[in-house]
């Protein structure tokens, strides 16, 4: 007959308990909120490779759908290209040498691990340093923005999605070009909050929200979502604008990392 263990080692184990909880708390505060270290996330080779394996089987099951999706994306890209060529035809006269210089280069990648769980959501994508991906590059997909690269290893990259308590994206209203900061309130994965737009600005429900292009991360005019509802904040000169996302982040599979070819050398960006 075994009695449940009683008090002999109790003090020691309580000390161990507090020690381990302290270690955990340290890890949570140190690595979960901002940029993480490669060791701790799935851009690490072991979990990354395992997850790629599971994703492979998942992809085999849904192959048909994926093909359709890629075709749709390609169609959209092609049409954008045509539009660009058209608008290029109407550009300055005489054109300056850099009028048609390519500013943004898209690196295609596939999401191999998703963490749309809780308040800090990350993706792992199957492209990394060898493909030219660097930290602090924007990530977009067919219908909108997805997130920001926070860390890369040679073969994988970790993307902090816009569904993350630390993510701040500069975005503007298409109709009047007022811009604010887009953040996630940690609950609904299909909505973001656009903050810092003054109360006096007239905001139409259904107005499109797009990237402003004021940061190096994203090209301007990338679609994000549409205004869903407005919420005043007592005692503040701004209000929350609830934005319904076009992209279902939880389901995005094919993404493009935005390489900004005009980014100044790192020395100028150092402060970040």
């Amino acid at each position: 007959m075994t009695r449940a263990p009683k008090s002999s080692v109790r003090v020691g184990s309580t000390v161990l308990f507090f020690f381990l909880e302290f270690v955990c708390l340290f890890l949570i505060v140190e690595f979960n909120r901002g940029k993480s270290q490669t060791f701790w996330h799935s851009a690490g080779l072991v979990t990354g490779t395992l997850m790629e394996g599971v994703q492979f089987f998942q992809n085999m099951i849904g192959q048909q759908d994926k093909m359709k999706q890629i075709q749709a994306e390609n169609a959209e890209l092609k049409s954008k290209l045509i539009n660009l060529q058209l608008s290029a035809a109407t550009l300055p006269d005489p054109p300056t040498p850099d009028t048609l210089a390519q500013r943004y280069h898209l690196i295609p990648g596939r999401v191999i691990n998703k963490n749309i769980i809780g308040s800090n959501n990350n993706f792992t994508i199957d492209i990394g340093g060898k493909d030219g991906v660097k930290p602090h590059m924007g990530v977009i997909s067919a219908h909108g923005i997805v997130g920001i690269v926070v860390d890369t290893s040679r073969y994988f990259s970790k993307v902090m999605t816009i569904l993350h308590s630390q993510a701040r994206i500069d975005a503007r209203l298409r109709s009047n070009k007022f811009h604010g900061s887009l953040v996630w309130d940690g609950d609904e994965t299909d909505h973001l909050m656009l903050k810092a737009i003054p109360k006096h600005v007239r905001v139409e429900l259904g107005d499109t929200v797009e990237t402003s292009g004021y940061t190096d991360l994203f090209p301007p005019d990338i679609l994000i979502g549409k205004v869903d509802s407005l919420k005043p904040i007592a005692g503040e000169s701004t209000r929350f604008i609830r934005v319904k996302l076009f992209e279902d982040i939880a389901r995005s599979q094919y993404v493009y990392v935005v390489e900004n070819l005009f980014t100044p050398p790192d020395s100028l960006n150092a402060k970040d």
């Binding site: 007959m1 075994t2 009695r3 449940a4 263990p5 080692v9 109790r10 020691g12 184990s13 161990l16 308990f17 381990l20 909880e21 270690v23 955990c24 708390l25 340290f26 890890l27 949570i28 140190e30 690595f31 979960n32 993480s36 701790w40 996330h41 799935s42 690490g44 979990t47 395992l50 997850m51 599971v54 998942q58 998703k114 963490n115 749309i116 769980i117 809780g118 308040s119 800090n120 990350n122 792992t124 970790k158 308590s165 940690g186 609950d187 609904e188 994965t189 299909d190 939880a250």
Partner: protein, 172 residues
């Protein structure tokens, strides 16, 4: 002599991989009242031998938590909940101790009965999910969100753990 520890190591590895590669994907939530998410790895802590020392329990809890964290990109979050669960287990065991003490090595349905195990699992899983979601959200102002997710998480996880136990019905 006694090599039941091999069983526990296999269980450890299987539960980490199951949680990190498969159960993690069985997730639905964030767009309404209904949430679906499962935590099954605490089953490892639940099924450790009754006489496991408190220190070994805490170490085991920390190890499984930190490994699950590797898959969730959340260093420390699962680990802190698992350590708390391991810390509370001897207390829960003592509370639910049958009148004549524990006669078996491990707390399972086969050794202590369905009703006993259901209560035991509910108690420890309740502690675990509350700790996990509190750490995960990490914001006192979002207590409502913690409670909603914890309630759903508890329901699904407990049901899955009971289903696993009833299916495999391990002796120890």
């Amino acid at each position: 002599m006694d090599n039941s520890w091999i069983r526990h190591i296999i269980r450890f590895v299987a539960l980490v991989l199951l949680q990190g590669l498969i159960v993690k994907r069985m997730y639905y939530g964030g767009t309404g009242f209904i949430r679906i998410e499962f935590l099954i790895y605490p089953l490892f802590i639940l099924l450790l031998p009754i006489f496991t020392s408190r220190n070994a329990l805490l170490a085991a809890g920390f190890c499984i938590g930190i490994l699950v964290d590797l898959f969730y990109d959340s260093p420390g979050v699962h680990a802190s909940a698992a350590v708390l669960t391991a810390f509370m287990r001897p207390r829960v065991l003592r509370r639910f101790e049958p009148g004549d003490g524990y006669e078996h090595k491990t707390p399972t349905i086969r050794s202590l009965g369905l009703q006993w195990f259901a209560k035991y699992a509910a108690m420890l899983m309740g502690i675990h999910v509350l700790a996990y979601y509190s750490m995960e959200v990490f914001n006192v102002l979002k207590t409502g969100q913690v409670l909603l997710r914890a309630a759903w998480g508890f329901l699904w996880s407990w049901a899955l753990i009971m289903a696993i136990m009833l299916t495999f019905n391990p002796k120890e």
